[in-house]
């Protein structure tokens, strides 16, 4: 058992890919599986900043939203082909991350959380007001991906399973990227800063620049998640940008295990599946989610995956 987990840890990208490839067959319907993919990526992007750098941001929904809206607007208003639109979404989110990060990095600790929450709300209002582009409260509709061809084979994006694998393609690339970042010197500096910021600074690392860089990377990944979401739902809802959406990323990371590689994905899967299941039983899903979350914060702060790993004494994210 332990060696299996060590095997996974060493080849985490491959393991994730294989698991996700068969994932849609164990979920009750593909739309849920796709949602889990997208939010899993969202949580992973968020986790870069939270779990690995120790910065708790409550404004990350802004990047999910910017990614969604930029991609959506590119397709709906400018007829940009979908692949280019995804790129636009990512770049937009990264820019947003640069601005927001620059403002927020000046603060630390609790202030950082509150500031990111408030900055996220500003982005929310801006998109809300820009009704002619975003549709305001009604959201942006009409994000279509027409049938396209890959190597001469027609691909029907509306087919749920096909859609899943296309989205999976992007998610896998992003996961691979995250893994590379964490394994690089940058990854080591990130964790050093999380453990002891002053010591890292004393060692000569530019803490502020590192924080900003990771903030932007995190934003870009969340932006990709947002872009994919726009394509999946054919709409962009305005509350993608609200702080409660940011709160979801936090909950997923905690639930799954912050500071672990695959934890956020597990957190997203559990939370979304749970929500889906609970909603059919009772209207009071909000209380159930809240209670489950509190339970984890109190008794399993390492999250599901983190607890499993620590029980097996696996070193987290080993090379």
């Amino acid at each position: 058992m332990k060696s299996f987990f060590q095997l996974i840890a060493r080849h985490r990208v491959l393991a994730s890919t294989i698991f996700l490839a068969i994932f849609p067959f164990i979920m009750p319907y593909e739309a849920l599986a796709i949602n889990i993919l997208i939010f899993g990526l969202f949580a992973m992007g968020f986790n870069l900043l939270f779990g690995y750098m120790g910065l708790l941001s409550f404004g990350h929904a802004a990047f999910l939203g910017i990614g969604s809206y930029f991609t959506g607007i590119a397709i709906v208003h400018y007829g940009v082909p979908w692949a280019a639109a995804i790129l636009i979404g990512i770049v937009g989110a990264a820019l947003g991350g640069l601005i927001m990060g620059f403002l927020a990095i000046r603060t630390r600790g609790i202030y950082f959380s509150m500031v990111t929450l408030a900055l996220g709300q500003i982005v929310y209002y801006i998109f809300y007001k820009a009704e002619s582009f975003t549709g305001g409260e009604n959201g942006l509709r009409g994000v279509r991906v027409d049938t396209f061809t890959i190597l001469g084979i027609p691909v029907d994006f509306l087919n749920p399973l096909v859609k899943y694998y296309i989205i999976l393609f992007f998610v896998v690339i992003a996961i691979w990227l995250i893994s590379r970042i964490l394994n690089s010197p940058l990854g080591a500096v990130m964790e050093a800063i999380r453990e002891n910021e002053k010591r890292a600074a004393a060692c000569g690392f530019d803490v502020a620049k590192t924080k900003l860089l990771v903030f932007v990377l995190s934003a870009a990944i969340c932006g990709l998640a947002g872009s994919l979401r726009a394509l999946h739902l054919s709409i962009v809802p305005i509350d993608s940008l609200h702080y409660l959406q940011s709160g979801q990323a936090v909950m997923m990371s905690i639930l799954g295990g912050m500071g672990t590689f695959f934890g956020p994905f597990i957190g997203a899967a559990v939370m979304l599946y749970l929500e889906d299941v609970v909603t059919t039983f009772t209207k009071h899903w909000m209380a159930v989610i809240g209670l489950v979350f509190m339970f984890f914060v109190l008794f399993f702060p390492k999250g599901i995956w983190g607890t499993i790993l620590s029980k097996l004494n696996i070193q987290r994210d080993s090379k």
Binding site: F4, F19, I22, F25, I26, P28, Y29, E30, A31, L32, N35, Y128, K129, E131, G135, G136, E137, N138, G139, R141, G142, R144, L158, P160, R229, L233, S234, I235, P237, I238, D239, S240, A269, V270, Y273, L274, V277, V278, T279, T280, F281, K283, W285, M286
Partner: protein
């Protein structure tokens, strides 16, 4: 390796809970379609409009029951699949995808906000599923969002705000101030009211926008008072309406101006109470009090009372009933459940389910129907349901709607 993966997923399933028994674990095989006619019903069971939503469900279930009791269609019964969209367009889209992909519904009826209905419509449109929307929106009539699968049972702001304007301006004066919720629906209400008002020589003194969901309107009220209009139009909905009505009362605005609102919900009036809404007039699609003058209203009310312990249907509830009943009736006329045939039958449907004669306009599938102007009352209430006086009923006519050309539909 496969075995270990299974144990990992088994853990997840344990966490998931008992519904595992009812969800297919392995390959999603498209099963042969069961005999029941399935109507998906996404509606915000949780959130600020849950009261209206639950009323919609109750009334829709009544329509289903009547259909089934009458024998169904060729022995096939109808079934309502209710899902909570949490008043959230993203959730509504996901739920609609679930209804279409997993539950394989034949049709979708539902929604309770402009945003969610547009989102449900976007999903249905792409997958060629008939969608009958049962809440207000102007945007859904427009060519941009519309498709041949889109039907709109509810009123739209053009009709309701216009009717309220046509009622109030001749009686109370021409100087208008709007207190508007700052989102698309609010703006639609203003635009519609002004459009009708222009013909009567009304002038807009100010259009004051407040943030959607604002709880404190005090910041806007001194200015309204200073402007001294003849009519104050509250262009907001649900909770916003309750809040603003209450605070306008607190600030003593009623003594110097008439307050009206394009959409006066039964449930809002109950939530706000008699004092806050005293003297406020507004438009609605239905009020149970119609039963004194319209026979089908009495039939509908009585059936609802019988099924639900004496309570009466609300305005949005009645739309739930009509939305489902129109689809089911069209199936019988078309003698088929095939979508395009049902669409064709619905386009030609002439019906009177609960409020008098109605039909769907061909270019945008908008249900052409009456608008009822009601005024809240606080005295002489016979029982807890008797909250409105019916002032006037604006007849069924396409003249008061935006023209097909205006909406972007090709002739």
């Amino acid at each position: 390796m496969t075995q270990k993966v299974t144990s990992q997923t088994r853990r997840k399933i344990l966490i998931g809970g008992a519904t595992v028994a009812s969800t297919p674990l392995w390959l999603n095989v498209a099963k042969a379609q069961a005999d029941t006619i399935k109507i998906g019903f996404p509606t915000p069971l949780t959130g600020p409009f849950s009261a209206e939503a639950q009323d919609q469900v109750k009334a829709a279930e009544l329509a289903i029951k009547e259909f089934n009791d009458a024998g169904g269609f060729n022995g096939r019964k109808a079934e309502l699949l209710v899902r909570d969209d949490k008043l959230n367009p993203g959730e509504a889209a996901t739920r609609t995808l679930e209804l279409i992909e997993k539950d394989k519904v034949n049709y979708v009826v539902g929604s309770l906000s402009a945003a969610t209905q547009l989102s449900i419509n976007a999903v249905c449109k792409e997958r060629k599923v008939l969608f009958n929307s049962i809440s207000q929106s102007d945007a859904i009539n427009e060519a941009k969002d519309w498709s041949v699968y889109t039907f709109h049972e509810a009123l739209n702001p053009t009709m309701t705000a216009g009717a309220v304007a046509r009622y109030s301006i001749p009686r109370f004066g021409k100087k208008i101030v709007f207190l508007t919720a700052d989102y698309a629906y609010g703006h639609e209400m203003v635009r519609a009211f002004e459009r009708a008002g222009k013909e009567m020589g009304a002038t807009t003194l100010a259009d004051i926008r407040h943030p959607l969901g604002a709880s404190d309107y005090s910041a806007f009220l001194p200015r309204i008072k200073a402007l001294n209009p003849d009519i104050l139009v509250l262009c907001n909905f649900g909770r916003d309406l309750v809040n603003s009505a209450k605070q306008c009362t607190d600030f003593g605005l009623k003594s110097s101006m008439k307050i009206v609102t394009p959409v006066l919900l039964y449930t809002s009036r109950l939530a706000g109470g008699p004092e806050a809404f005293e003297g406020i007039a507004g438009g609605t699609s239905y009020y149970w009090g119609l039963e004194d003058r319209i026979p089908t209203a009495k039939t509908f009310n009585d059936a609802f009372r019988k099924m639900y312990n004496g309570s009466v249907p609300s305005d949005y509830g009645a739309l739930g009933y009509a939305g489902v009943r129109s689809v089911l009736a069209s199936i019988k006329i078309a003698k088929s459940t095939e979508t395009m045939k049902v669409v064709a039958a619905m386009e030609n449907l002439k019906y009177d389910w609960y409020k008098g004669p109605e039909y769907y306009r061909k270019c945008d599938h908008q249900a052409v129907q009456t608008v009822i102007i009601v005024e809240s009352k606080s005295k002489n209430m016979k029982d807890k349901y008797d909250v409105f006086n019916i002032l006037t009923i604006e007849p069924t006519t396409e003249k008061n709607m935006r023209s097909c050309a205006e909406l972007g539909h090709k002739a």
